[in-house]
Symmetry: none
Subunit: 200 residues, 4 copies
Amino acid sequence: MHDVEIARKLPAQKRSQSSVDCILEAAAQVLEAAGETGFNTNAVAERAGVSIGTLYRYFPDKRSILIALALREREAHRQAMIAVIQGEDHKLARDRLMIRAFLRAFAGRARARRVAVSALLAHSDHRELAESFALPDMALRDANGRALNNVEVFVLTRAVHGAMRAAVLEDAEFMMSQEFEDELVRLSRAYLGYLPKNTL
Amino acid sequence: MHDVEIARKLPAQKRSQSSVDCILEAAAQVLEAAGETGFNTNAVAERAGVSIGTLYRYFPDKRSILIALALREREAHRQAMIAVIQGEDHKLARDRLMIRAFLRAFAGRARARRVAVSALLAHSDHRELAESFALPDMALRDANGRALNNVEVFVLTRAVHGAMRAAVLEDAEFMMSQEFEDELVRLSRAYLGYLPKNTL
Amino acid sequence: MHDVEIARKLPAQKRSQSSVDCILEAAAQVLEAAGETGFNTNAVAERAGVSIGTLYRYFPDKRSILIALALREREAHRQAMIAVIQGEDHKLARDRLMIRAFLRAFAGRARARRVAVSALLAHSDHRELAESFALPDMALRDANGRALNNVEVFVLTRAVHGAMRAAVLEDAEFMMSQEFEDELVRLSRAYLGYLPKNTL
Amino acid sequence: MHDVEIARKLPAQKRSQSSVDCILEAAAQVLEAAGETGFNTNAVAERAGVSIGTLYRYFPDKRSILIALALREREAHRQAMIAVIQGEDHKLARDRLMIRAFLRAFAGRARARRVAVSALLAHSDHRELAESFALPDMALRDANGRALNNVEVFVLTRAVHGAMRAAVLEDAEFMMSQEFEDELVRLSRAYLGYLPKNTL
DNA sequence: AATGAATGAGACTTCATTCAT
DNA sequence: AATGAATGAAGTCTCATTCAT
C-alpha cells in the first residue's frame, strides 16, 4: 500500500483515524483558504484542533500531508464518479456518464483540489501519478470494436481530461452546461470513429 | 504591457538589459536544477553572477521573476512555433504544422518550463492567462466551413493542448514520434468532421 | 491593555514568561551597550540566550520589543516611586517625595532607558503616551486650595518632569544633589503660590 | 566649526550650497512624510533631485544629514526667535517675548523637527547639545537682582523648555493659546521670586 | 562634479521539525 | 499519546555606501 509511506502509522484506533481525517480536512480547508503559499503545518494543526506534535505523529512531513490529501481527493473523486455511474439513468451512454460524473465531481472545493493536485504534480513522478489517477481500465474500443493502442488511449483520455481540466482551472462559465458535456462526448466519439447522430 | 508591473525599472541601458537577461536565464537554470522548492533569490542571483541587490533592482520580488520567466517562455514558444510554421514544408496542412511546432518547441528544458508555467498557473488569473497563451486567432472552421462557436473552440484547443501538455509533463516516450503527432491531428480533424483519409 | 497588541501571545506558562523577561532584559542590555543603532533582533536573541525564532514567537517585530521595554521601564519607575514614597520618612512633604523618588528611580541604566523612551517617543502617539507616563492623578491644588485647571497641571508637571529629564539626559553632575532637589521643589511650590520658607 | 565634521566640504560654490540646501530640505520633507523609518538616503537624494552619489559628496553618511538638519532647524528656530524679539511690540517683557517666540517658531513642520531632534538626542552627547540649543546667554537674575547660579539656571531653562517641548510633542491643543503662554510666564516669574500681578 | 548601477551586509521573518514535559 | 515551546536553517528584501563611467 501507498499509505504506509504516507501515514506514519496505520491508524488502528478510531481516535487516530479521526485525527488523520481531521488533519486532512483541515489541510484541505487551509489550502482552500490560503493557497499553497499559506499552507503550513502549524496552520493545519491549529485548524485541525490538534497540536503540531500530534500532526507529526501521523505524518512524517509536510509533503506527505499534501500527498495524502491528493490521494484522498482522487479517491473521493473516483467514488463520486462511481456513484454517478451506478445511480444514474442507464439509458445514458457510458462515455457520457463518465464525463458527466467527472464534471460534477469536480464542482466545489475546486481550489483545494487544484492546489493539492498541482502540488502533487510538482513533486511527484508524473507517469506514476497519471496512472494512479486513471479510471479503472476498461479496454477502450473504437466504433469498429478494435481495441485502442496505448498512444490512442493516451490521446483520448488526456484530451478529454485536458478540456475538462481547463474548464475547471479557467472557471469557464459553461462548465456545467449541457452544451459543454455534449461537445466533450462528441469529441471522444468522433475520435473513436462514431459518425454523428449517435447522440444520448 | 505587463512588463511595466513586473520589472522594477524599464531597463534602458544595455548593461541593465543584460542583467535582466542574465537573471532570467539563471532563474530558468535554477528552476531546471532544483525545482520550484529550491528556487530562491539567492541562488538565482549567484548563478546569474550578480548581487542580490542587483536582482532586486530589476525585480520587485521573487514571484515577479517567475512571472517574467513564464512570459519569456511563452514568447519563446510562440516564436518557435512561428518559425516552424513559416520555415516548414508547406505541403503540410496547417493543423499538423501547429501541432508539430508545439511539440518541437516544447522539447528541451522541459522542467524549467513546466515549473515556470505551473508557477504562473498557481498565481494568476487563469482565464486571462489562457488567452495570453492562445495562438493568434484564426476563426476555426469545421469540415463544412462553419465557424466554430466558443465552446467548440474551447473544447478543441484545450483538448489538443491537454494531450500535448500531458505528454510533456508525463515525459511520454512517444512524445516526439510521428504516431503521436498523427493521432493528435486525427483527433482534431475528427472533431471538425473530416472523414478519415485526409492524411498529410 | 496595550500588551495584547504588543506581545504575540499571552504568555501563560512560566517558561514563556521567563523568556519574555529574558528578552526584555537582554534588550535593555543591548540598548545599553550598543545604542539604538546596534540594537538588532539577532543581538537581543543571542544575549537573551534564546533563538531568533523564540524571540519572534513573543514579539511580532523589533519595534514591539522597544515598546514593551519602554513600558516595562515606565512600570519599574512607577513602582520605584511608589516604594520610595511609602517607605520614606513621612515628615517629608509629598511633592519633595515625588521628586526625590523620580530622581532616584532614574539613576542607573540611564542609556537604555533613554533610548527606549526616545524610541517610544519617536514611534507613538504622544498624547496617549504622556498619559500612560503620568503619575496617578491627585487633583493638584495651589496654596489657596484651588484646584489647578488642565493647562496649569500640564505646565507644572511637564516643567518639573522636563527639568528632571534634562538632568538625566544631560547627565548633569548635580542630578542626585540635595541642591537640585531643593530647586525643583522650590519651582513647583513657587508656581503653586507658596511663599518661600516652606522648606522640607 | 562643527560643520567641518558634518559636510564633507565647505561648499564654496553657490551650486554646492544649493545642493546642500536642497538635500536638507528634501531630508526634512522625507522625515515629515515618512518618519524616521522611511528616512533613507536614496529617498532623500531622489526628492532633492540629485543623484545618490552627489548626496554622498556633501554628506559623509546618513547620520550627518540628520545632524545637519537638526542644526539647521535650531538655527532657523533661533533666527525666528530673534526676529520675533526684535520685531515685536517692545512693551512686552523680555521673558514673555522669548516664550512667545519659541512657541511660534515651533509651529509648523512639527514632525520633521521632532524626529530630527529626537534622532539627534538619540545619537549625540547631550550636554554639548543642550548648550548648542541654548539661547544666547544673558545672566539671569531673580526679582532681587541676584544672578542665578548654574543649578537655578538649569532648572529654570529646562523647566520652561520642557513644558513647551511637551506641548509640541503632545500636540496640545492649547499650545498657541494665550493662556498657555501666560502660565509659562507665570512659572518662570514665580521661580524668580516675582509676586503675582506683574503681568504683561 | 555628477551619475546611478552595483554591491553585500545584515535586518527581519517564516516555518518545518524536534523534544522535554 | 499529546503538547507546544523552542529551534535555527533558510529566505526575502532593504538600504547605506562605493566606484566605474
